[in-house]
Amino acid sequence: MTDIDTSLASRPPLTAKDFASDQEPKWCPGCGDHAVLQQLKNVMPELGVPPENIVFISGIGCSSRLPYYMATYGVHGIHGRALPMASGLKTSRPELSVWVATGDGDALSIGGNHFIHTLRRNIDLNVVLFNNEIYGLTKGQYSPTTKVGLKTVTSPSGVIDHPFNTATLTLGAGGTFFARAMDRDGKFLRSILARAAGHKGTSLVEIYQNCPIFNNSAFAAFAGQENKDETTVYVEHGMPLVFGKFRQKGIKLNGSTPVVVDLFKGDVSESELWIHDEHDTFKANLLARFFDDPLTVENFLPRPFGIFYAEDRLTYEDALEAQIEVAQELGEGTLEDLLKGDNSYIIK
């Protein structure tokens, strides 16, 4: 095995450009994937990890082309299987920084089983889930996150499948990190990616990513300049849940029921509001349930963005290394020990 040189001190400082491969991205003009790629390149130099220790793994779909555009190690695998491929690599080589680029079809449909099991194992992977609520590469079929009613080539009368909520799914599966961000919100996305990289365990970052060709404006309700302040809430650890163009609205917990309150009325102060706590699993699960469609629900709860939940839990690969360490307390087994076994006998 090659010894890993983790010291970057002897090298010139890296920039985003150093992480661009020689391949030109082949995504459609205006695709949200370009923006996510840029933020990933931006965040890489901040990790303090040399490029040869970074690996991008993907499955199949538009977003899964991403590894080709990063000047790191990378594998573009098969549909739905990015997470097990990354899991095997990380378990075998815990010192690597392993990233997964996947989409709503790849991760939540064909790879749904791997999705839940990877999360419960808590392998230290950084999973970037590009959710565009549509199948782009196969040209516009509905995905497991597509809204009910959307007419697509495979749902000419409108989708009748109830969509997955990635946040509740992640937390329900025992995930230790969930964050949501928007493709076009570059600076914020970059900060979330940096936090995801720092989280020890499986970090799941759901990115609302616009597909201008097959599902344009799917997230307009949360992205439009005219409405986003009223339809979204950006959560920050230790801070109250406040939103609105004039920060005039807050969310307060009545028992376990979240209610939107008007801060300008003067009968509720910020100190009475829901204070976001990334480590509170109960509140994180409530937050994950904020899944109203502002276009159809009256008195909707705003869609949360930011880090919902971050739990410090032993990772799978560390637990395995610890077991191996115990087994090797009296020294590593030799080839001769192995061949002899512990039930050998001598015939004289």
Binding site: G88, H117, Q328, G341, I347
Partner: protein, 626 residues
Amino acid sequence: MSEPISSTSKFTVTPKTSVSVLFAGDSGDGMQLTGTQFANTVAVYGADLNTFPNFPSEIRAPAGTIAGVSGFQLQFGSKPVYTPGAKFDVMIAMNAAALKANLKDLHRGGIIIACTEGFDEKNLRLAGYNPEAHPLEDATLSNYIVFPVPVLQLTREALRDSGLSAKEIDRCKNMFILGLLYWLYSLPIETTVNMLHAKFGKNGTVAEANIRAIKAGYFFGDETEIFANLGRFDISPSKQHGTYRRVTGNEACAIGLTAAAKKAGLELFLGSYPITPATEILQTLAKMKKWGVKTFQAEDEIAGIVTSIGAAYGGALAATNTSGPGLALKIEALGLAVMLELPLVVINVQRGGPSTGLPTKPEQSDLLMAMYGRHGDAPLPIVAAYSPVDCFYTTYEAARIAIEHMTPVICLTDGYLALSSEPWKVESGDNLRDINPHFSPERNPEDPAFLPYKRDDRHVRPWAIPGTKGLEHRIGGLEKQHETGHVSTDPDNHELMTRLRAEKIEKIADSIPLQTLDNGPEKGDLLILGWGSSYGAIKTAVEQALEKGFSVAHAHLRYMNPFPKNLGELMGNYKKVLIPENNYGQLVHLIRDKYLFAPVSFTKVKGLPFNEMEILEKITDLIKEH
């Protein structure tokens, strides 16, 4: 430690060259444990042996029924034995169902030791015997030598004041049987006594009671007159001196993988999902953490292989183990491994199919899936093990080919090899062929560009693993441009890459041994070309046929793809080639396809391995026809 015991010498002792014994009883009777103890004693004594457990697929089938019968068969001898025996010479029947289920496989004139308490009215009814006509008393067993022994009663008497509960005492009845058989075959009891002391060291009462039950059985034989006419038997030890261990095929696969990783200087990673009859490979490797082995029990068969591909990309010796239905699920990922050209060992422990089929029964019916079961033109090497011990060598060879030729390799075994065991003279690591992974070295920025798909003269691409400075590169399932590995849809490039991938596999024939004959003349009337677990049956049948003066030879294939270079020439030295297979005819297709002649196909698809009598009969027919 108990003092050695010995028999009074009033009985005649008849030497025998080999004996096949079946221990059969209800799945709760501890027959696997009893058989295993008997096998350990025989092994340490120095006879050759071969064992095969036969248990119901249900964990707890209703007690006393045929479905609940569990058996453990072994053959031991003063000469090499290659099978657990086509039929057995001795049957221990703990109940009526055990007798009914197995009587057809007992040699005419064979010995039955029946535990009479298992033949009460209830047991007879559950086994489907007419309770009015007791099989131990009427003419049912007139062609056999029957010893009805009240095993339970005798065990209870012997352990009356042992301090054990009534239930615990009854559980010792299989030790009584064991003692009786040790007496019958002039075997020492010490191996089992030592095991009991080691196992129950802390609880002296249990160990002592079990030892007392063994002795009670032993002295029962010696002191009663019922065996007076039969006498005792003796099988002289035959094994050369040395250190041995007994392994099952599944254990041998696990050891083979670990040994290959050690020899290559790599970490072993196994991604796996439990499936009968392959699970023991995962279980054995999960206990090998001392050797740095990492096992990953995945959420499904697909994740089992894909985690392994991830580990292979990272530079591990990666493997996955499965059986037919699981291999079917892994096929798409196997195509990816072919495309990525990464080393990967896939051990497929074949069982009766299709679908869930016969999960606990062996078959050799996945050869064509291994050969052709992929989308696209995706050839890969296939090796097949022929005995429990050979599972070690064949798995090791699969790993060597995978690592040195940068390819997934399928290693075929089956449920028969997986669970059978035989003694293995402990191998020295020095005797194992070296395995050399070709990792690409670091590259400096001023060096020429790294070409992940630049091949050597064997068409093998380099193994460039993450962590190596300057080799950052991207690979994937999309077709690669020759040498650069970039995505390419160029028509000529696809044809070139398809040819290069195929030639890479064909060139493996340059590094594998030529096919040798196992037995028989170099030219003659008939060649039996076998593969897999039929080895023992063919070997035994050919020995017998040669004794009869037939012109017959035996060659056993390990390399199923590519074939050894001389195979065509070798087959050409015989007037006929017979291919026995536990399937509906699969190797015969490959041979016909490659060598354009018609071998004789001999198939058996009963969920049972061939036995030597069937093969010998076929040989006799073919030679007569000739």
